[in-house]
Every structure is written in structure tokens, then in C-alpha cells.
């Protein structure tokens, strides 16, 4: 049996083992990785700082592969075909694959190793930077290339005044030309970053505490900062190969042939450590192709790696920067709009017929639509293509055009997958072809291909309405429709169902306020909303009074206890920091609520697609770490948004400091206190698919925080699909978090005033649903088990005792069915 051993467990190694197993290799596979964690998506590393968890970034575990973590390989014995790890473990191999990647280059300037100096490559690096940023006010990134700007954006996101120091004459000198550099610099400066170009580094100096205090430029000018991140290029990690006497390039990199084989036939090298065709490739796409070539060779094939596309695209808070193809040519055509911050340039052959490459800043349209056409005849004149505006012209791609460069997938392969598996959406394409699964920049093109393949993606909510919830919301809002009957008569068919009726009920509630059981609206509600309680498996209901922020007085606790005891209810502390009383029959609900309302309780809306709870930690009032009054804010927010009907339930939490005891980042909107104010995180989720919330805005004062939440919530209420939590909504929002920020913070759609006014109306119109119900005999009359025997309890309901409380006795289904 063949034993394959892989050194290094980064993205390339992961792709290698996954492909090897996928192709049916039957021998053993062992991976030895230096990092303490399984392979993760390094391309998406930065998202770890703005919300993604390690779990989000970690690749799926490949089947039937032995992985050893924290296992740095220290030596290769080529004679004996054994590798040895630093901690003394030896692993024999028949085929060895080196996938050791690269390490950031740190120029040997004085002070480069002071505490406060970092590189930007691994999760550990980011953890260290995040920790240091807590006590820092400003940071410097050395290197204004692709990764440097990404790192600078991350420092900015951590709340630091950020500088970028670039030796070259403009930013990203390797990817873009001078004109593009000027436009890019304007964008970057507009974001509040300070740019130093043509700037060397003389020294990094320490302050009295021995850690970084400033960077000194050659002229003697100093920039104060407590954090320095080096991003001045990468060096292939070829040290193992050197020790073992394998051939390496003059400037580093393990020399390989077209089949990714080193000069030892038993050893391959793939990814950023390999020198293939005279190049070390620093992008994931080519590295993955190399891994696939090596797999093919090991299985006896003849695949060859013959170079790869070096197109790059970067998105820095809304600024698109991209370059593709060759950046020189006989002719070039430039489009420049300094006011709009757009710069686009195409390089074409001297007969102006063949596209060679392009650069774009501020509008990635040409990148998306033209990159697959490099080396082919231009579909229109260069000027037409450049003036086409955002999104570029719609060009028909030939079947063999590469659409996804990260995963080397052509248009033909995508169309085939669409036809063969009847795909209707981008996730489907991702799953079948991998296209779009890495950097995501080809996703707009994938959508275009779906549409042009004639895929009709049905948006209909149900058989009664051909609309999405957002469309219905607009119809109701714009036409001023006030009843379901009018809406379905004018815009739908039939008489509705359990899908559209509650949805319309929720839209009417968001827009009109009023009581959910008023008139015809009562008939639209799910049983939970209809009885203002949650149905349980035996047909009884639960009662959840609101406990804003989880704060409750002893008197109120006693009332809850007494009510539960008097009505024989099961009590439990919920995960939402309040108390649930279970086992009430419909006719008991008004009696229970009469007692609760008299004691000052109100509906907790546990039954509604509405605000549930705003959890809190104890915050600065008691906690020795707290920096703000988390309980006070949580109560204010819960009282502001209580009763707000929404596409799905809404949850929130407020933590008094970064220790995050309230788990705010698992909420639809979560707030974490800072020294200066509040950080607002949005679109978190627990439940089936957990998602960490993303930072929407930082250090907000309380009134501004509330305004931003008002806008965020109302924008969600208006545009989300039915039963779409904020997490899924944001994931599906075109333009994602950046777009959301543009809409709710920069007011790019000019609707913020409207959203705020709508929320103000909600707040002003709020009343307690339960109080209004017990005061209205008409509504109360529905709370009976039997209309012809109002006093009779449902005889099918009975209880047993467990741990001193009731539990439902269920009717066995065999009995029901027989």
C-alpha cells in the first residue's frame, strides 16, 4: 500500500488530500501540520477580525486522512524515506508532498522584533494583533500591496488610527499603474487612513515600556504607533527542502517540474513553497491547480502546470481594485473619473482587437466581465467597454472561458453542471463545481450565467402570490392596502394558506400597528399569535411574560411563582433570560394574564415573529470589568422594539465589555460596550446555522446607536424574505455588509429618514397586546376549548409528575391512527 505524507496543512495541502481521496486513492494519507488547528481558508483570514469564527473558516475535514496538528517537520531522511517532527515522531513515506507555504518577509530594520511588531498570516497572528489593539490607538502597516491594504483595513476596523507605509511610488505598485494609484490613494485616504508613499523605514523605536512606540522614516520624521504589521512580501518556506538537499531557486522556492515533482522523484512540492516555471505563485487559485496536478501525477496521470492567471481583486470597504492579464501592451485605453473615483484601463494588442489585460479602481465591472476574455478578441471597442459603467457590458462568454480563476472552472463546466443537476442558484453551482467558493469575486458572473441559461428562479411565496415578501411589503405600503382580502383579490389567487396569511399579517402589523387580533387580521394568525401564547405538543400553551434585559424584582418573581403554583404550571428559566410557564389550556390564558398584567407584566411576544429578548450582562453597575451600563441599555432597547413584527424573530443582547458575557455576537443585533461607547454587531444567529454577528459600526454614542438600530431593523423588516433571519438576509443581500453600511449609515438610498419615521411610529403606537385582549370581551370570547361548552376543559389533556412538576401525557400515535 502506498503511503502519502504531506508536510504543511494549509489551503493547498487541504485541496491536495481532498482531491487525492476524491479520486479514489486507496493508500494511507498522513498530514503533518505545524499550526495548532486544522486547515482553514487563509484567503478569508481578515473576515476572522470582523465576525467570522474559526469554525466558519475551517475547511471540512477530509475523510480517512490522518492529521497531526502542532507537528512541525524538522527533517527529511530521503534515503530511509522518513520525515521526523520536532517532537520526535517519525513518519515513513512512499510519496512525500511538501506544502509548507510561505512566510511573510520581515525586513531587518532595527527594532523589527520589538513587542508590538506583527505579521499577518495566521489565526495566531490575528489573535495577537487583536489583543494588542485593545491597548493601542494607532498602527502602521509596512507595505502598501494587496495584503498590506487588507491588513490596514483590518487595523482600522479594530479602531486604530492607521498608516500605510509603501516604499514604491504609489499603492499596489505591482498590480496597478500610476493613474490607478492616484485614484486608489484618494479612496484610501477618504476612509481615514494615512498613506506614506516613496517611504522607507529607518528604524522602529521602543517606548519606555520596551514595546513599539514609533516608526522613524529616513528623513528623521517619526510616526507614532503602538502596533506595526509587516506586509512587505512573502518568502517561500523552503528550509526543509534545502536541508534535505533538494534543488531550490536562487531567490527561494522549491524547484519543481511541470508535474510538481522536485528533483527527488519521491517528493513533490505544491502551493506557495514551490517554484514552478520560474514563479512562486502567491494566490490560492494557482496553488489549488498545482495540488490537482500533483494528485494526477501520483495516480499515474500526465497533467501539467503551465502557469496561471494572476488576476487580483481587492475590496477595501467598498473600493474595488482589480487587475487582470498582462499590464502592458502595444495600446492602452484609459477612462478616468477623478470625481467619481473611478479609473479603468484596458491593454489591447496593436491591432486593438485582442484583449491583453486591464486595471480598474473604484469599479470592478470590467474585471468581472472582461477577465475571462483575456487573450481573445474584444467583444466591442475598448472605449465602449470602458464607458459601460458599473457592471460592465454584458458579454457572451465562450464556453472555454475561465469564469472562476480560484478554482479553474470554465463557463462550459458551469453550464454543464446547471443542466445536469438542474441547478437554480449560486450555492448549487458552488457545491457542484467549486466555482465561487474561494474569493467570491466570480459570483456576479455565476448569477449572470444562471440567468442566461434560462433558469427561472421562482420567487413566489406560495401558490397564492407570485411575489416575494419584500415585494408584497412594497405593494401593501405603496398602495396603502389594509386587509388580506383586498390584497389577495387584487394581487393573488385563491384564499391563502398557512404560508401567505401569517406573512401578510406580519406586514400589516409592521405597517399599520394596531392589535393582531383586530377584525379580519385575527384569522390570518398562526395559532401562537391567535392565542398570544406558544402551542405545545399536547395542545396546551406556554406563557412568557416580558422581563426586559433579564432584570426582575423579587416582587415580580414572587408573582410569577404564585401564578404558576395557582394554575399548576410547569416553570423553567429560558435561554432568553426570562421565565416560561407551560401547560396552560386556552381558557386559562386570560385568567393567568389578568394576574400577570395586574402585577405589571406584559406580553413577551415569545409567540410572535417579533422582538423576543434583549439579553444583558450585569455590566458596569456591578461587574469589575464593565465599562458601560449594559442592563440599562438592554432594557431601553427591549422597551423600544417590543412588539415590532418582523419577517422572523429578532433577538438582541448587550454586553458591558469585550468579555461578552451576554453573547451579543450571536444575536440579530448585538451591542458590546467600549470605553468610548458601543460597538454594534448585526446578523448573528444561534440556532441551526450559527453565525457570528458582523461589526456594523463602532464606538457609537447611545443616541446614534439607537438611530442606526432603528434603520437596520426597519430596512430588514422591509426587504427580508419570509422567515429569513437577519443572518441569512445579510448573506443574501447583494453587496453584503458594505452595502448595508452604505444604506443605513451613509444613507445611499436616501431612505433613512423614512425608516426612522416608521420606527418612531412603531414606538409611539405600542401597547400591550395582552392587556388589550383581557379588556375586550369580544377577543376574550375566543379563549375557550369548546364554543358549545365554554366551562369544560379539554378532556384529552392530562399530566403526569416529573421532578415535582407537571409534564404532558401524550396520546400514543398508534392509538391515534387506529
Amino acid at each position: 500500500m502506498t503511503r502519502v505524507v504531506v508536510v504543511g496543512y494549509g489551503p493547498t495541502a487541504h485541496r491536495f488530500v481532498e482531491t487525492l481521496r476524491g479520486k479514489g486513492f486507496e493508500g494511507s494519507i498522513t498530514v503533518l501540520g505545524e499550526e495548532p488547528r486544522p486547515a482553514y481558508d487563509r484567503v478569508a483570514l481578515t473576515s476572522y477580525l470582523d465576525g467570522k469564527s474559526l469554525a466558519d473558516l475551517t475547511y471540512p475535514e477530509p475523510g480517512d486522512v490522518t492529521v497531526r496538528l502542532s507537528a512541525r517537520v524538522a527533517g527529511i531522511d530521503r534515503q530511509a524515506r522518513v520525515v521526523t517532527t520536532e517532537d520526535g515522531h517519525s513518519e515513513p513515506y512512499d510519496v512525500l508532498v511538501l506544502a509548507t507555504g510561505s512566510s511573510p518577509f520581515v525586513p531587518p530594520v532595527p527594532g523589527h522584533d520589538l513587542p508590538g511588531c506583527f505579521v499577518y498570516r495566521t489565526i495566531d497572528d490575528l489573535d495577537a494583533i487583536r489583543l494588542a489593539a485593545q491597548d493601542a490607538t494607532s498602527g502602521i502597516v509596512i507595505g502598501g500591496g494587496l495584503l498590506g491594504l487588507e491588513a490596514a483595513d483590518a487595523l482600522r476596523g479594530l479602531g486604530l488610527a492607521t498608516h500605510v507605509v509603501e516604499m514604491g511610488p504609489w499603492l499596489m505598485p505591482r498590480q496597478i499603474d500610476e493613474g490607478g494609484g492616484v485614484v486608489l490613494r484618494n479612496h484610501v485616504e477618504a476612509l481615514g487612513l494615512t498613506v506614506h508613499t516613496k517611504a522607507g523605514v529607518d528604524a522602529i523605536e521602543a517606548g519606555p515600556d520596551g514595546s513599539v512606540a514609533r516608526l522613524v522614516k529616513p528623513g528623521g520624521e517619526a510616526v507614532e504607533a503602538q502596533i506595526v504589521v509587516f506586509s512587505a512580501g512573502i518568502r517561500p518556506r523552503d528550509e526543509l527542502a534545502r536541508q534535505a538537499g533538494l534543488a531550490v531557486g536562487e531567490r527561494g522556492g522549491i524547484l519543481v517540474d511541470e508535474g510538481m515533482r522536485t528533483d527527488d522523484p519521491a517528493i513533490y512540492a505544491v502551493g506557495e513553497c514551490a517554484l514552478a516555471g520560474g514563479m512562486v505563485y502567491g494566490l490560492a487559485g494557482p496553488c489549488f491547480t498545482q495540488a490537482e496536478v500533483a494528485v494526477d501525477r501520483i495516480l499515474g496521470g500526465t497533467a501539467a502546470f503551465t502557469g496561471a492567471d494572476l488576476s487580483t481583486k481587492l475590496k477595501l470597504l467598498g473600493v474595488d481594485v482589480a487587475s487582470f492579464g498582462t499590464l502592458d501592451g502595444a495600446l492602452d485605453v484609459t477612462f478616468m473619473d477623478p470625481v467619481g473615483g473611478v479609473y479603468k484601463k484596458l491593454f489591447v494588442s496593436d491591432d486593438a482587437r485582442t484583449l491583453l489585460g486591464g486595471i480598474c479602481v473604484g469599479d470592478a465591472g470590467p474585471y468581472t466581465s472582461l477577465r475571462p476574455l483575456v487573450g481573445r478578441e474584444l467583444p466591442a471597442s475598448p472605449t465602449e467597454l470602458l464607458f459601460a459603467g458599473t457592471g460592465g457590458v454584458n458579454v457572451d462568454l465562450p464556453d472555454d472561458a475561465q469564469v472562476c480563476s480560484c478554482n479553474n472552472v470554465t463557463k462550459g463546466q458551469i453550464c454543464e453542471a446547471i443542466a445536469e443537476h438542474s441547478l437554480t442558484d449560486v450555492p448549487g453551482i458552488k457545491a457542484c463545481t467549486r466555482a465561487g467558493a474561494t474569493c467570491g469575486s466570480c459570483v456576479p458572473l455565476l448569477k449572470q450565467i444562471l440567468v442566461s441559461s434560462g433558469v427561472e428562479v421562482s420567487k413566489a411565496m406560495c401558490e397564492h402570490f407570485p411575489h416575494t415578501r419584500a415585494e408584497l411589503f412594497d405593494i401593501v405600503r405603496v398602495r396603502g392596502i389594509t386587509t388580506f382580502s383586498q390584497l389577495i383579490a387584487e394581487h393573488g389567487t385563491g384564499r391563502g394558506c398557512d404560508v401567505c396569511k401569517p406573512t401578510v399579517a406580519s406586514i400589516l402589523a409592521s405597517l399599520m400597528g394596531g392589535h393582531v387580533l383586530e377584525g379580519e387580521r385575527a384569522a390570518l394568525q398562526d395559532t401562537n399569535d391567535h392565542f398570544l401564547a406558544n402551542i405545545q405538543k399536547n395542545g396546551t400553551y406556554s406563557v412568557v411574560p416580558r422581563v426586559p434585559g433579564g432584570e426582575i424584582t423579587p416582587e415580580k418573581l414572587i408573582v410569577i411563582g404564585e401564578v404558576a403554583r395557582d394554575f399548576g404550571l410547569y416553570t423553567k428559566i429560558t435561554g432568553g433570560q426570562r421565565i416560561d410557564l407551560f401547560g396552560a389550556r386556552v381558557e386559562q390564558l386570560p385568567l393567568i394574564w389578568r394576574r400577570l398584567v395586574d402585577a405589571g407584566f406584559e406580553s413577551g411576544h415569545a409567540y410572535g415573529k417579533a422582538l423576543r429578548t434583549v439579553k444583558s450582562c450585569v455590566g458596569s453597575t456591578w461587574c469589575r470589568y464593565g465599562v458601560q451600563d449594559a442592563v440599562g441599555l438592554a432594557i431601553a432597547l427591549e422597551l423600544r422594539y417590543r412588539g415590532l413584527r418582523s419577517p422572523h424573530k429578532l433577538k438582541s443582547a448587550v454586553s458591558g465589555c469585550a468579555r461578552e458575557c451576554a453573547e451579543a455576537r450571536s444575536k440579530d443585533f448585538g451591542i458590546i460596550a467600549t470605553e468610548q461607547g458601543w460597538n454594534l454587531y448585526v446578523a448573528g444567529n444561534g440556532g441551526f446555522t450559527p453565525r457570528h454577528a458582523d461589526l456594523l459600526a463602532g464606538d457609537l454614542p447611545t443616541d446614534e446607536l439607537i438611530r442606526v438600530i432603528d434603520r437596520f431593523l426597519m430596512f430588514y423588516v422591509r426587504t427580508a424574505d419570509r422567515l429569513q433571519r437577519t443572518s441569512v438576509w445579510l448573506e443574501n443581500l447583494d453587496g453584503g455588509l458594505d452595502y448595508l453600511r452604505e444604506v443605513v449609515i451613509e444613507d445611499s438610498l436616501g431612505i433613512c429618514g423614512d425608516l426612522e419615521a416608521q420606527m418612531d411610529r412603531h414606538v409611539a403606537g405600542y401597547f400591550d397586546e395582552w392587556r388589550a385582549t383581557i379588556e375586550d370581551p369580544d377577543k376574550l370570547s375566543r379563549f375557550v376549548s369548546f364554543v358549545n361548552a365554554p366551562g369544560t376543559p379539554d378532556p384529552s389533556i392530562s399530566f403526569a409528575t416529573e421532578r415535582d412538576q407537571i409534564k404532558p401525557v401524550l396520546i400514543p400515535l398508534e392509538v391515534v391512527r387506529s
Binding site: C497, D498, K501, A523, F531, K537, G539, V787
Partner: protein, 118 residues
């Protein structure tokens, strides 16, 4: 006014259960007749239907509390527990042909809704 839908044999014994006006359009209510739980419904046009209240999928007596509507024109109620739809006309489950609930004759006489369980 008579809103009787199905021709019923004259020998049926009818039990009055509530005023017709006590029923909300497109909503159900439950009545207890001879120890049996019957879910009665009034649809948008005013027609009446009666089904067994027991949801065969969950074993709970809850069908009267489901949402009333139509499925391809057929009047139906969706169980409030797990949303299976049942035809109001035939009692047949529209999501699972193997399941059905009993139907009962129902009519209006003198403004009173009457059902028959025998």
C-alpha cells in the same frame, strides 16, 4: 338561510352547537358533541365544514386552531402543530394520501349551527 352543503339523510340527529355569527370567517372553532371533539369551520364564502379535531400526525386535539385557506382551489385547514393540510370537504390529508380525518354533516338552522355525529 340554509348553508347545508352535502345532502344529508333525513334520519340524522342534529345537535345545535353555536350561533352562526359566533364563527369567524376563515377560522375554526371546536365543539364537544357526545364526548367527541369536532372542529367546525366557516370559509370566506360562508360555507360550513366539520372535521374530527384530532390531528393524526401529532396526536393532539388541535385542528380547529389551524389556518384556513385553499390549496389549488380546495378549501383546507393546516394543522397548527406541523402544518399538514387537510381538505375541509373530504378530510383527506393533502400532504400525505395515507392520512385522513373524519368529516361530519353540518348545517345552519334558524341561525344556529348544527352538527351530526351519528
Amino acid at each position: 338561510m340554509t348553508l347545508d352543503l352535502r345532502p344529508a339523510p333525513l334520519s340524522l340527529s342534529w345537535t345545535p352547537v353555536c350561533a352562526y355569527t359566533a364563527l369567524l370567517p376563515e377560522r375554526g372553532a371546536c365543539v364537544l358533541v357526545a364526548d367527541q371533539q369536532i372542529a367546525i369551520f366557516r370559509d370566506f364564502e360562508g360555507r360550513l365544514y366539520a372535521l374530527g379535531n384530532l390531528d393524526p400526525f401529532s396526536g393532539a386535539y388541535v385542528l380547529s386552531r389551524g389556518i384556513v385557506g385553499t390549496r389549488e382551489g380546495e378549501p383546507m385547514v393546516a394543522s397548527p402543530m406541523h402544518k399538514q393540510a387537510f381538505s375541509l370537504v373530504t378530510g383527506r390529508c393533502l400532504d400525505d394520501p395515507a392520512a385522513a380525518v373524519p368529516t361530519y354533516p353540518i348545517r345552519v338552522a334558524d341561525g344556529q349551527v348544527e352538527v351530526s355525529v351519528t
